[in-house]
Symmetry: C2
Subunit: 183 residues, 2 copies
Amino acid sequence: MKSASKKEIIMDTAESLFYQHGFHAVGVKSILDQVGVAPMTMYYHFQSKEILTQEILKRRGERYIQFLDEKINRENSLTTYVDSLIKAHMDWLKNDGFNGCLFLRAKQEYEGINEEIAAISKGHKQRMLNTMEKDVQLFGASSTVGKQLFMILEGITSAAQISSLEEVEETAGILAKNLYTDM
Amino acid sequence: MKSASKKEIIMDTAESLFYQHGFHAVGVKSILDQVGVAPMTMYYHFQSKEILTQEILKRRGERYIQFLDEKINRENSLTTYVDSLIKAHMDWLKNDGFNGCLFLRAKQEYEGINEEIAAISKGHKQRMLNTMEKDVQLFGASSTVGKQLFMILEGITSAAQISSLEEVEETAGILAKNLYTDM
DNA sequence: GGTTATTTATAATGAACGTTCAATAAATAA
DNA sequence: TTATTTATTGAACGTTCATTATAAATAACC
């Protein structure tokens, strides 16, 4: 399956460029040049740049959730769950860079322009929020704690664009420590 | 000064469009069309789209800080300071919509492309963080509390793109309530 | 070996991009 | 009033945009 490989390389490269500069800021040509393929190779696999964008977002959403699932500890206490979740998210940022959340950016750029892309993006965020709300209830905490956790993770992603990961992780840890004291 | 008026309308319109869709997603023509002026009217006041972008960001930064300053209570306790700051930020979001932070978006779109724009954007965020760190020290709290507050505000701005303002405000309020309990 | 699937190269498409031209209108100063 | 600067206009510039056309070459599959 050499074709699958080319398709994946195109997706990888485009995802990286989109994350670095944004969707509208990155032209198809720059993706093609960086991969080293002819235009029709891309259009053979993806009907358009926007379809490519959709597929990238779907794949990234699954990858992120799987990445977290492998690292989250849902077996012990709320404390260990929260700590493992924050740690996992920090690990993701470490691998991925510090340019914010690609889903929020996609939603921002395509709301009112391409509703499919906006829906995929918003859907992913909503799914993450829902997951956290349900997860904390495993430990008897209210869904409000899940909302707080979600807000902390969003704060981490934004703050990481200004401050170092170490500083951000420490700050988030303090916030999270006081999350569930008033249960 | 009829010209000052036109210049301001161009800035207002462009700022609104940039905030809705992003910088690269909005063409000069769409700004011109919405304002109802000829290209040179814009280029007389701004040497380029990127210069226009810079001026918009600078102006917006000042406006945001002034908006907060008028509403923040630095006279009483840490609690009232924190509450007033969060409330002020919520008010800003209410007036401005829920499309994230324009400064973070500018930094994301222009880092590696236009360093001046990236610097203005990052500078604004850094300035906000510094201000909060100094402010909380007025009440004897450590700068860490300021970092936490900054992270909460960032979390608010992101979460507001998924959930309602009321829900976000409540969640942030709970987070903030436990901010300073371990001083 | 024959068929289908994938990729190449090159060129061209029309539309949109940011920007500039040359001319004029409006405001200001002499 | 005239002269000069300031502000604005519509048309046009060259470039890049995403996409497609065409045709040939390579690879994978049965």
